[in-house]
């Protein structure tokens, strides 16, 4: 089973050609096998299912339009149950047993990082839809992503605070337990100082804390015009509630870790009027975006797509585009074409793959309004 993939592929072609038996193999010659690993069950299942649904929709549309290079995509999906260790198994199986030509996945950076070395050593391109940790694509030249990375998001929020909110003095409230939060805070501070703003207070909390009033009172006494809270949705919601209770009423804003229905379920009226940056909004417009929202709603019984769904969709599209341009499913050629992707018109905006194999693309800012997330503006890189 440790055959090199191109060899396996030629072996399959040979077998099929000589024996005329295409049906008994997983990969028929008129199909291109694409692997996907996702957290369909377990604690991050909501993210994984959204992403998977977007990918499935993209594959169905590609096939309905005649496929790529005259062949249909065959999507093979493995569930890693949101567990550490399972992604490596899933990806090993997809590459070695199913002979997939590329891997799509995952949402969580830690699990993308688990799969990346395997894809790299097998020379199988991997495209992560929504892992924002810079380390993911640093694994090697076969690893790509269709989302922006954390440093960019921090800078976006700094410019948004300075230009749109017209904040001059800002406080930063960081979750010191999370690399994601610390990274965002660092890049936000750099960006905000560069834009001519002032950081008046820097306080810390530990993710999972329930009492933030001590820190929030200190932030309030520094009189900021806004507070940057680069944490996850549960902590962010509790922070917004307790901020109101100590009389801190300035706008709060954060990153894509805020994007969850739980933010408004827990925070209720306390999170109203606050902002966060993310990858995509169904209201952001664009022809491609509108068509996607319609198609997604039709396919999934009226459900509105979220950022994970849009990124899952884009990851499949960008792979199809690269295979088309490569004129082959050979790993090296597809890799080269993925790296050369420029101004690809995707649902989440125009994607250009940069030298780090990350996507250069715009972020959107959303505002919490009436318990929903309303589109505010798009910020280009």
């Amino acid at each position: 089973m440790l055959m090199k993939r191109p060899l396996l592929f030629s072996a399959l072609v040979l077998t099929a050609a000589v024996l005329g038996l295409a049906g008994c193999q997983k990969t028929a010659t008129d199909e291109i096998a694409v692997g996907e690993f996702a957290s369909l069950t377990g604690k991050e299942a909501t993210f994984g299912i959204s992403s998977h649904e977007g990918t499935v929709l993209a594959v169905e549309e590609i096939n309905a339009a005649g496929g790529v290079l005259g062949k249909k995509f065959k999507l093979l999906t493995e569930d890693n149950q949101s567990k550490a260790g399972e992604s490596a198994n899933a990806v090993n199986k997809l590459i070695a047993k199913d002979g997939v030509i590329a891997i799509l996945g995952e949402v969580a950076s830690s699990r993308s990082l688990e799969a990346a070395p395997i894809c790299q050593s097998n020379k199988t391109p991997q495209i992560s839809p929504s892992s924002t940790n810079p380390k993911v694509t640093e694994t090697g030249d076969y690893i790509f992503r269709v989302c922006f990375i954390d440093p960019f998001q921090g800078t976006v929020m700094a410019n948004f605070a300075k230009k749109t909110l017209k904040a001059q003095k800002v406080a930063v409230f960081t979750d010191v337990k999370s690399d994601y939060s610390k990274g965002l805070a660092k890049f936000f501070k750099e960006g905000f100082l560069k834009a001519g703003g002032q950081i008046v207070a820097e306080l810390d909390y530990n993710g999972g804390d329930k009492d933030f009033k001590g820190q929030l009172t200190a932030i309030k006494s520094a009189n900021p015009d806004g507070v940057f809270v680069p944490g996850y949705y549960t902590d962010a919601a509790l922070i917004c509630i307790q901020a109101k209770e100590v009389g801190l009423t300035v706008p709060m804003f954060g990153g894509d870790g805020w994007e969850s229905d739980k933010l408004t379920e827990i925070g209720k009226e306390a999170v109203e009027g606050n902002y966060f940056s993310t990858h995509y909004s169904p209201d952001a417009g664009g022809e491609k975006g509108k068509a996607f929202v319609e198609a997604y709603k039709k396919r999934y019984k009226g459900k509105l797509p979220d950022a994970m769904a849009a990124l899952g969709y884009d990851s499949a599209l960008i792979l199809a585009d690269a295979i088309q341009r490569a004129g082959s499913t050979d790993g090296d050629k597809v890799r080269a074409m993925l790296a050369a992707t420029k101004d690809f018109d995707a649902v989440t905006g125009k994607i250009t793959i940069n030298g780090q194999r990350d996507a250069d693309k715009a972020a959107v800012i959303l505002k919490v309004k009436d318990g929903k997330f309303a589109y505010v503006e798009t910020v280009a890189p």
């Binding site: 329930k210 001590g214 820190q215 379920e265």
Partner: protein, 303 residues
């Protein structure tokens, strides 16, 4: 000055909750001389009882009324009292004559059992659940000072409960029995005190207080999950030791001191990351000079 008063109120409200939890630890220690580690998970069960009871009670007594809040708190306290007594009956009573370490390990087992059973999808699930708003919120504003009505309710009710506890322990027959068992279990039994009943009562009372504390805790931070009891439970245990374990006013004092320390250090820019480190370093210092705790009396171990 505003800053100081604001932090004082924040710290007192947090400390009051620690005090309520610490009372449960200290009472059980008083009668049985062991630490009931499952106490923090009874707190979690109290919050979840309220979470599931509120939608049932709201149609009867109206949303966000005092009566609904009282009914939810009392019923949750009753449920947790039963749970506490059941835990004692099933897990601790059969081990009463065994070495104390055995019971201690069992308590840790019960605690982990409750936490991880609660995380199962068919029980509560691991995801954070939004806690319902029990009381309408009104902020009292004095200049730059903001006092949340929730914090005032927590402080007032805690004060009432502390007085009630003092009354039960010092002025009632069952309280006298509790003190007798705590002083000398065998002698109390010889005098006709039903030791098992007294221990059951102690667990019930402590668990009811934990349920109330859990609800207060969830009112301040309305996101509940099966591991929510771990942090406040640990702090309250330390508060009980700080005040002098086995000593009721000591537990209350320890809770308030810990709440204040945490809030004040948390509110210092540059130090907020070290708030627990500093708070606990101070505790170690206090215990170095007063090994029996702030209000505890040093007892010679009986041989």
């Amino acid at each position: 000055m505003d800053w100081f008063l604001q932090q004082l109120i924040n710290g007192l409200a947090l400390g009051a909750i620690y005090a309520l939890i610490a009372l449960g630890y200290t009472m059980v220690y008083g009668v049985l001389r062991f630490i009931n580690f499952a106490h923090s998970d009874v707190l979690m069960l109290g919050a979840f009882s309220a979470f599931y009871l509120t939608p049932i009670i709201v149609p009867m007594l109206g949303a966000q009324t005092v009566w609904t809040a009282l009914a939810v708190i009392l019923l949750s306290a009753a449920i947790c009292a039963v749970i506490g007594m059941t835990i004692e009956f099933l897990a601790y009573r059969p081990l009463r004559k065994r070495p104390r370490l055995t019971v201690l390990i069992t308590a840790i087992g019960v605690s982990l059992f409750l936490e991880f059973t609660g995380q199962h999808e068919k029980v509560f699930g691991a995801a954070t659940k939004p806690f319902p708003t029990l009381l309408p919120k009104r902020d009292l504003i004095f200049g730059a000072l903001h006092i949340s009505s929730n914090d005032l309710v927590v402080l007032a009710l805690t004060a009432v409960l502390l007085v009630a506890m003092w009354f039960i322990v010092q002025r009632t027959k069952i309280g006298m029995a509790m003190r007798a068992v705590s002083y000398n279990e065998q002698a109390a039994a010889l005098m006709g005190v039903n030791v098992n009943a007294v221990i059951s009562f102690t667990f019930g009372l402590g668990s009811a207080l934990a349920a109330v504390a859990g609800i207060f805790y969830a009112m301040r931070a309305p996101g509940i999950e099966p591991l929510m009891g771990v942090q406040p439970g640990l702090r309250a245990f330390i508060a009980a030791v700080l005040g002098g374990i086995g000593n009721l006013p000591g537990a209350a004092l320890g809770g308030i001191v810990l709440g204040l320390l945490e809030t004040f250090f948390g509110g210092m820019p540059g130090l907020s990351n070290y708030r627990d480190g500093i708070a606990f370093a101070l505790l170690i210092l206090i215990l170095l000079f007063r090994p029996a705790g702030l209000l505890g009396k040093l007892q010679m171990e009986k041989v």
